[in-house]
């Protein structure tokens, strides 16, 4: 338990918090057997990769909960970042062929889906040619990849770039089922959030994850104001 649990607050311990989050997501998905989820934010450095990885990790560890008899209980994280610090970096997976290589048809899907040290968690790296990512995601191959992932994995999480820094996010958000917007408390300006919400199809947003939240005031003072 790394966080404090308060009866009056939605803030709970991370594991329980993430379970609560994916339960809500699946409820919003209307009981879909497979879900392709995009995790993004208005600006960089707000915790979208963290949120995506924690969601994937806990879902993978909770395989019994999400498992279905068809054997597609694995969780896939697709790294859609051009940044050198990505999900693969944090999962300790060495750089290698990934999304761009698959979209260029130089590799098969199985070639670019690599295992992680979590048994049921798979990762698709950004690939060896991340600078062409913007072009490649706008091809039909990307649409086909999403469709294939939906068939093969219970949950596919696209770790998207931030909305206001590239138009790639708008394209990728159009391909996924739902989008979660991560907002870093005390950092993200309200204007950036409203701008981000106008750039992506509003119906795709399932909700907001308020990240890195700190209590501004102690409880005794907060209750008096």
């Amino acid at each position: 338990m790394w966080g404090k649990t308060r009866a009056s607050s939605p803030v709970i311990a991370p594991d329980g918090l993430v379970r609560d989050l994916y339960t809500r997501l699946f409820l919003h998905a209307g009981g879909a057997t497979s879900l392709v989820l995009g995790v993004t934010s208005a600006l960089d450095q707000e915790g979208k990769t963290t949120t995506a990885l924690n969601l994937a990790s806990v879902l993978a560890s909770d395989r019994g909960v999400v498992d279905s008899t068809d054997g597609k209980g694995d969780v896939l994280v697709v790294d859609c970042h051009r940044s050198p610090i990505t999900a693969s970096h944090y999962l300790g997976v060495a750089p290698g062929p990934g999304l761009t290589d698959y979209l260029k048809r130089s590799r098969t899907l199985d070639d670019v889906i690599c295992p992680t040290d979590r048994h049921y968690l798979k990762l698709m790296r950004a690939g060896d040619d991340p600078h062409n990512l913007s072009v490649l995601i706008r091809t039909e191959a990307m649409w086909n990849m999403i469709r294939t992932c939906r068939e093969r994995f219970r949950l596919t999480i696209l770790d998207l770039p931030s909305v206001l820094t590239t138009s790639d996010t708008q394209v990728l958000a159009g391909l996924v089922d739902r989008v979660v917007l991560v907002v870093r408390s005390g950092v993200t300006p309200a204007r950036a959030i409203t701008d981000a919400l106008t750039r992506v199809d509003r119906s795709k947003f399932v909700g907001i994850v308020l990240n890195d939240h700190r209590r501004d005031l102690p409880a005794w003072l907060d209750s008096r104001l």
């Binding site: 991370p14 924690n54 408390s185 959030i193």
Partner: protein
């Protein structure tokens, strides 16, 4: 309101530091810059009693004696000669070296701390703020002495002038009386038998009238001279009633100047901190709570992830995110155990 309080609470140590620093600077400033000792003396002043007795046609004055004498004292303090005369009889005389510029600076420093205030119609207070209590006391005493000396000298000079003037006037009038008497005697000898109503008789009457007028003027002038001489002889005695020291110079540690500096420091600190708080709160457009999000969008808040402190990295622990997510760590062993 809550946002402002939150701004204060978030950076409470910073704001506290600013206040403490400025207060410290104020304390240091008060110790270095201020003159902590204040010497005061109170004197009783009055109009010259002899003049008021003798001069029956005093000019009407609206100022009280204390205001009159205070004005005089103020004008004297503004002169370097008066201040140097004060300083020469004190232990601070060594500060003077005869160079007008240097002496002027020394005098200006003392003058800036020297002040008078009117306490009542006849009471004046002379005060001096300084860093050396002994010297301050000597300077205030010197101011009183020099002022008394100046008043006495001024009065004496005025009396001498008056006496000389009236003596000259009496002498002139005596000459005129003598001349008028001689003219009358000569005319009487030349016209022994005058007929009443004749032109000669009228001339005789005119000469007699002139003589009477001259004698009257001479008598008046002699009276004035006598009065002036009386005033002169009484001047030194009357000074004791015109000018009395009620409270001799006394020195005390002044806390007012320190409090003033502390007050200024505190005021500046609070003003600065308040300005910073207002600006920071006004500039802060970031979203902090679910309520803030509810104000800008109707999307539900799915989760609120608390700020978690970083844990030291170990071989079995993988950090999930560096910039914003290094707070959430996932243990592979825990995951695999499921």
């Amino acid at each position: 309101m809550k946002r402002y309080v939150a701004t204060i609470y978030r950076r409470k140590w910073f704001y506290l530091s600013v206040i403490v620093l400025l207060l410290g600077a104020a304390v240091a400033g008060s110790a270095v810059l201020s003159n902590p000792y204040q010497t005061t003396a109170r004197i009783w002043v009055d109009r010259p009693t002899v003049s008021s007795v003798v001069d029956q046609q005093q000019t009407f004055v609206t100022q009280t004696p204390a205001q009159q004498q205070g004005d005089m004292l103020y004008q004297l303090i503004q002169t370097d000669s008066f201040m140097i005369a004060i300083l020469k009889d004190t232990s601070g005389a060594g500060q003077l070296n005869g160079d007008p510029q240097h002496d002027g600076r020394v005098v200006a420093t003392i003058r800036s701390g020297l002040a008078y205030s009117v306490l009542g119609p006849n009471t004046l207070m002379i005060s001096l703020k300084g860093g050396q209590p002994q010297l301050s006391q000597e300077i205030v005493q010197g101011t009183i002495d020099e002022f008394r000396k100046w008043l006495l000298q001024s009065q004496s000079e005025q009396n001498s002038t008056e006496i000389a003037y009236y003596q000259q006037q009496v002498k002139t009038l005596q000459d005129q009386v003598t001349a008028a008497q001689q003219a009358l005697d000569t005319f009487t000898r030349q016209n022994p038998n005058l007929v009443q109503g004749s032109p000669q008789y009228l001339t005789l009457q005119r000469l007699g009238s002139d003589l009477d007028s001259m004698r009257t003027l001479e008598t008046a002038a002699e009276n004035k001279l006598n009065q002036a001489q009386l005033v002169s002889s009484m001047t030194s005695n009357s000074q004791s009633t015109q000018f009395r020291v009620l409270d001799r110079p006394g020195t005390m540690l002044s806390t007012r100047s320190r409090l003033k500096y502390l007050g200024l420091g505190l005021g500046a600190a609070l003003g600065l901190v308040t300005t910073i708080i207002i600006l920071v709160t006004w500039q802060d457009k970031s979203v902090r709570t679910g309520d803030d999000l509810a104000e800008i969008t109707d999307l539900p808040v799915l989760a609120v992830v608390p700020h978690l402190r970083s844990r030291p990295k170990t071989a079995s622990t993988v950090t999930a995110r560096q910039p914003a997510g290094d707070r959430v760590q996932v243990s592979p062993s825990a995951v695999d155990a499921v």
